[in-house]
């Protein structure tokens, strides 16, 4: 791995505290994490260990309470809300467990949405959205609304929406959480291909070791901390 290049993601002693005083709840307690460009990382850990909290910070939707987050060398914590939004629209793609598509809006329009905010002209939008839908195997489904699509298809539309901007990093929080095994494997195939063919960095939270197996590296969370590599050996068989 090229160690001289700037890592795409770098967390340094990141903490996140929700609430104040006695109600304060520390979800992250000093996370160190470095992810290089082109990696496919799975994030695992028990419920409540801070995985989603960490993903929100990686996705620039939230900022650390203390510590710093460098995205391609830029300190995200010092950016304004709008600057983070611009970072998201250009460099980050999101896939959620609940798909989060706009209802009563066609697949094509859903996929076009990020391009609208980038101000791309209509023809470019159509072209790119169609390509993205083709990449997830949904050619011919452009004009169906989420209500007319299966869960697996909806998640594929969500992936198309996430990659249509050709982001540097794809963040997926339990993308297969709502899908059966066959559907999950389809999604993982798509993600693997995106990582391999297009070199998109992928960070994916999952509870299923089968899915984590698709990734080239797994990061374990426990009680708001990343579990060091050497401790994982004992849990390996789980």
């Amino acid at each position: 791995m090229d160690t001289t290049s700037v890592p795409v993601i770098e967390l340094r002693q990141v903490t996140k505290t929700f609430g104040r005083g006695t109600a304060a709840m520390q979800a992250l307690r000093g996370v160190d994490l470095v992810i290089q460009s082109g990696e496919f990382v799975a994030v695992m850990g028990p419920s409540g260990s801070g995985k989603s909290t960490c993903m929100n910070i990686l996705g620039c939707l939230d900022t650390p309470t203390t510590g710093s987050y460098l995205f391609q060398g830029v300190t995200v914590g010092s950016l304004s809300r709008d600057q983070r939004a611009i970072l998201r629209r250009h460099y980050l793609g999101f896939i959620f467990q609940g798909y989060n598509l706009l209802n009563r809006t066609t697949a094509l329009e859903n996929v076009e949405l990020p391009l609208i905010y980038r101000g791309d002209p209509v023809e470019v939008r159509h072209q790119r959205a169609q390509e993205a839908l083709a990449a997830v195997g949904l050619s011919g489904w452009e004009h169906h609304t989420p209500g007319e699509l299966s869960g697996g298809q909806q998640q594929r539309v969500a992936i198309a929406r996430a990659i249509v901007t050709q982001p540097a990093v794809l963040l997926a929080d339990e993308p297969t959480g709502n899908l059966d095994t066959a559907r999950s494997q389809e999604i993982m195939d798509i993600l693997t291909r995106l990582n391999f063919d297009q070199g998109i960095t992928i960070v994916m939270v999952t509870h299923e070791p089968d899915m984590a197996a698709y990734a080239r590296r797994t990061v374990h969370f426990r009680d708001g901390l990343v579990v060091p590599e050497h401790e994982i050996q004992h849990e390996g068989g789980a």
């Binding site: 939707l61 611009i86 999101f94 959620f96 989060n100 990020p114 905010y117 929406r161």
Partner: protein, 401 residues
């Protein structure tokens, strides 16, 4: 960016047609009410103004009697023809001095009869009251001097007695007199007070005095003041002269009245305008209520669409883009309501104007103002919900449901 917001807004409105319609109902009613009030009020004002002109510009009416508070007079000696001669001679600012005396009577032609107001006067009456002959002619000097049995009739009388026939040259009967119709007057329509001005018959004063009244009295003198001369000034001159002629001493009150018709109509116009403004203001309040309705629905909409907003923010929408989306939606809704209101109001105004017998006066100004105002209502009342949407935390918003 604005265009996109507009498209989004249209799509969102189409999605909830019924709700959108109910939302804008308040604006529709508000805008329609304002426009109807102003249009009808404008029509009424125009009508009053026309009547000032038709009444005869600068008309003063001199009647005998003491004024006992508004509208009340106590009897006093009538005037005489000599009074009118003196007025015409001594007050050069008068262009017409018409002695009149009237009585309600039935006029008969063939089998038709009609009860109307018969007025005895001179040619000056037509001048003072701005009457023009539509056909036939007015009185000649010799007819006036001789008290000939000739009459000039108004459109209503013609309608009742002759239908659509030409009345000129026909003889109608006023009690015992058979009277030749020599002239037909142009129509003036209803007066400000709602009376029919065309319901009248004029005969020479002398004929009236001799054959109907049986005395030499003149009940009312109507005079017209030359254009550009202050009517108040002339009014004082008339009062001075009449006091002298009626031998009133310094400490006696006037036993006659000089009324300035222009002043009265002006007052009526002012009243109409105040009423219009008042009703318009009441209507404007309903616009405000409409605005609150829009705010209410927009707030509901923001809550309902929290997740959608979260998605938009997560994929990179800026705060101001979300703000704009909701603002535009509110503005589109309310200006659409404004448009519907304008169309309804214009249709209703045309209908109401004809029912109420006032002219329909299209007021482009108020239509533009109402439209701009309705759009502004959307912007103002949509701002708070839009701000609320834009400031949502994307994480919270995504978790919503």
């Amino acid at each position: 960016m604005l265009w996109n917001a507009l498209l989004l807004a249209m799509r969102e409105i189409r999605r909830n047609v019924l709700r959108s319609f109910l939302t804008i109902l308040g604006i529709v009613i508000g805008v329609a009410a304002v426009i109807i009030m102003v249009t009808l009020g404008g029509g009424a004002t125009v009508q009053v103004t026309q009547q000032i002109a038709s009444l005869g510009s600068n008309l003063l009416i001199i009647s005998p009697g003491k004024r006992m508070g508004p509208g009340q007079t106590v009897g006093a000696a009538p005037f005489s023809v000599d009074d009118t001669v003196a007025l015409a001679r001594d007050i050069p600012q008068l262009v017409a001095v018409a002695p009149t005396t009237s009585r309600s009577m039935t006029v008969v032609y063939g089998n038709a009869n009609w009860s109307t107001q018969i007025t005895g006067s001179t040619d000056d009456y037509f001048k003072a009251r701005n009457w023009v002959a539509k056909s036939g002619r007015l009185f000649t000097d010799s007819e006036q001097r001789a008290g000939a049995a000739a009459c000039v009739i108004g459109q209503t009388v013609r309608q009742k007695l002759f239908g659509n026939q030409d009345p000129i040259g026909a003889r109608i009967r006023l009690q015992k007199i058979a009277c030749e119709v020599i002239g037909l007057l142009e129509s003036k329509g209803q007066s400000t007070m709602g009376t029919d001005q065309d319901d009248l018959v004029i005969i020479p004063l002398r004929a009236f005095q001799r054959r109907i009244a049986g005395n030499q009295d003149v009940n009312i003198i109507q005079v017209s003041v030359r254009d550009g001369v202050s009517t108040t000034r002339v009014q004082q001159d008339i009062e001075h002269l009449m006091r002298e002629r009626r031998h009133l001493s310094e400490n006696e009150e006037n036993n006659f009245n000089v009324m300035d018709m222009k002043e009265i109509t002006k007052m009526l116009t002012a009243t109409t305008q105040v009423l219009t403004a008042l009703l318009g203001a009441v209507a404007a309040v309903s616009l405000l209520v409409g605005g609150i309705g829009i705010m209410n629905i927009m707030l509901v909409s923001v809550t309902e669409r929290t997740r959608e907003i979260g998605i938009r923010l997560a994929i990179g929408a800026l705060e101001r883009e979300v703000l704009l989306q909701f603002l535009v939606e509110a503005a589109v809704l309310s200006s659409f309501g404004g448009l519907v209101g304008i169309v309804l109001a214009l249709a209703a105004s045309v209908g109401l104007a004809s029912v109420l017998n006032v002219p329909f006066v299209f007021n482009a100004g108020i239509v533009v103002i109402a439209f701009v105002f309705s759009a502004a209502v959307g912007l103002v009342f949509g701002y708070f919900p839009a701000k609320k949407a834009a400031q949502l935390d994307p994480i919270e918003a995504l978790r919503h449901e």
